[in-house]
Symmetry: C2
Subunit: 375 residues, 2 copies
């Protein structure tokens, strides 16, 4: 039995993972569960799964005895000896330390927290190298790429083609985008996700983070990572090889497939819970170019990735801060990329060599956005 | 340098292969060329490539000195010591002996002659086992499947999904099909191929052969091999794995990709001659169910495959004979599947254990069709 820790078990990915583990209970055991603040659901999950460890990030009372509370619970869960796989679906930079801790201890991190990699790609890779851990992506796009590459060497890859749903504003004019509301942004066409990531999907900041994540995970230069809009979200991403052949991973938009694959990679296990793919039902599949000028976050992310150093962390932190302001009704939709641009210019060149330095760059970027953009 | 013999070098696949080898000349050497009857083009190719062996299937005079003529040239080319890969693109059952000979000698057979496998799957596999040879498919569909499986064990495959262009009659009514002419049938929507295979594509007999070929090549039961119509021929086929994930191989409809992959599998080599895939240009991709009742050859092929023994050989031979009659204007389009049905009923249970027995079943099926269907 392989012990799994689920960090963020009450969120969208966490609950998906528990559905998958329900079916795969002969191979995997839920060893640890942590949640941010949803005590009620976490208590239900703990009763059902009887993990050896339960953690709640939000301090406070009113939780069952035996739970550990406070932000350190993420790292504690990730480090446990009875945990071999850490599914990290914590939202945002808060997930970084747990990823580093798990990698240092030689564990597999099934990573749904792309900010971890974006913020601290070099640190993460160094931790994996030191500790013998490995990162397997849970994002549907990166899982698709991993499945398409399937053990072939990086030298055989010509290009990655990430697909993007295009978000709710795919066909909005620039003028419409300027007046887009929060309610508009939260209508995601195909995936049912949390609020922060749904806004990221509307700005394409999410795709920017994924481009950086792909660069770090697969070691492919930014020039060889393309994005194409694919509104149906059936083709999850593609890999073009050096001989001109292209493999694509396709399927209905359920996160159960990439979650399961992150556990079993490079193997596959039988899962009857995932129904057969019906290409006729998915037809037609369409592809469009990205409107880079109207969704500037994508180009900003690529720029930050290429700049390296603290710039990706600043991109991520500025985006998080700006999205928080947008969710609070304090800035308008198109101010999100402007806030990122401004933070990159102000803080992008900050030191980045250590976890502490990155934390400072992160904090400065957030402060910059709050100071200059909150009204 | 790897020596390549091209059997059928003046045909569509043969000339494609030479274009590919032109670019890959640092890895591969053209060691042998054979053609059926196109002396002029074969002479040009021989001058350009200077192979150690040139063969012409059609006996006769007027060819350069040093060529070997007669049907035995296929086997002779395939057996040569300076040949490591035999690209077999001979049309129809005539290619079988060369495939067997190459496999017996431990060579790789890059197989564009699907009739070989359909007619004599068991013999072919026994020859490969005895001699240590291997078959790598050149058909775009099977190459796609091979690329999607990419070294994973058969036990991880839930289902193969072969795509079919649907041929020129995809949207024709049954009444229209009954009066379809030769000229109609030769208009293939996406691939530029020989006449026989183009008719097979119109009847879906080609797809039937491919279903049988897939069964033999990949060891997947017929119940787990589906066909879906995909008019754009951009998705070359798909593999659904046991965990519900689906991989697809996609790209522009050029045979250069599967020909090159058949040479290099499981590796990939850089080929700048194959331009980058543009999903936007290929958009939209559509999928439709196969109209099994109106294209009965597909179900007949599946039936023959499941029956086993001589039935697949009879299916293939009856189809070849019927297509020849159709190309000669002697039978109508919808008589092709009727001829196959009739031959399967009459000869499908013939002995099949040896090459000679299969040859007899093949001959009886052809005779049956000519006797009962030629007007």
């Amino acid at each position: 039995m392989i012990g799994v820790a689920i960090l963020g078990s009450t969120g969208s990915i966490g609950t998906t993972a528990l559905r998958v583990l329900e079916r795969q209970h002969t191979r995997y055991r839920v060893a640890a569960l942590t949640a941010h603040s949803n005590k009620v659901l976490l208590a239900e999950q703990a009763t059902r799964w009887q993990p050896g460890y339960v953690g709640l990030v939000q301090d406070g009372s009113g939780h069952p005895a035996g739970w550990e509370t406070g932000p350190q619970c993420l790292v504690r869960a990730a480090q446990r000896d009875d945990v071999q796989v850490v599914l990290n679906s914590v939202v945002g930079a808060a997930g970084l330390d747990a990823t580093l801790a798990a990698l240092e201890r030689g564990k597999r991190v099934a990573l749904a927290n792309k900010e971890t990699l974006v913020m601290a790609g070099a640190l993460t890779q160094a931790a994996a190298k030191r500790g013998g851990g490995e990162i397997v992506p849970v994002d549907s796009e990166h899982s698709a790429i991993l499945q398409c590459i399937s053990g072939r060497p990086r030298s055989e890859v010509r290009r990655l083609i990430l697909t993007a749903s295009g978000g709710p504003f795919r066909s909005w004019t620039r003028a419409q985008l300027e007046s887009a509301t929060l309610a508009d942004a939260l209508k995601h066409p195909t995936w049912n996700m949390g609020r922060k990531i749904t806004v990221d999907s509307a700005t394409l900041a999410n795709k920017a983070l994924e481009v950086i994540e792909a660069h770090i995970l697969f070691g492919i230069p930014y020039e060889q990572i393309d994005v194409v809009v694919h509104p149906q979200s059936v083709v999850h991403s593609m890999v073009e090889f050096v001989d001109g052949s292209v493999l694509a991973q396709v399927g209905q938009p359920t996160m159960e497939i990439p979650v399961l694959y992150a556990l079993t990679h490079p193997e596959r296990v039988v899962d009857h819970g995932i129904s057969s793919f019906d290409p006729v039902k998915m037809s037609p599949l369409t592809f469009e170019p990205v409107r880079l000028d109207d969704f500037p976050a994508l180009a900003l992310g690529r720029e930050a990735g290429m700049a390296g150093g603290a710039a990706p962390a600043v991109f991520n932190a500025a985006n998080e801060a700006a999205v928080a302001l947008f969710l609070d009704g304090k800035i308008r939709f198109m101010e999100i990329p402007r806030a990122i641009r401004s933070a990159l210019d102000a803080v992008g060149g900050a030191p980045s060599e250590t976890r502490v330095a990155l934390g400072e760059a992160d904090a400065r970027a957030r402060a910059h956005v709050r100071e200059h953009f909150a009204c």
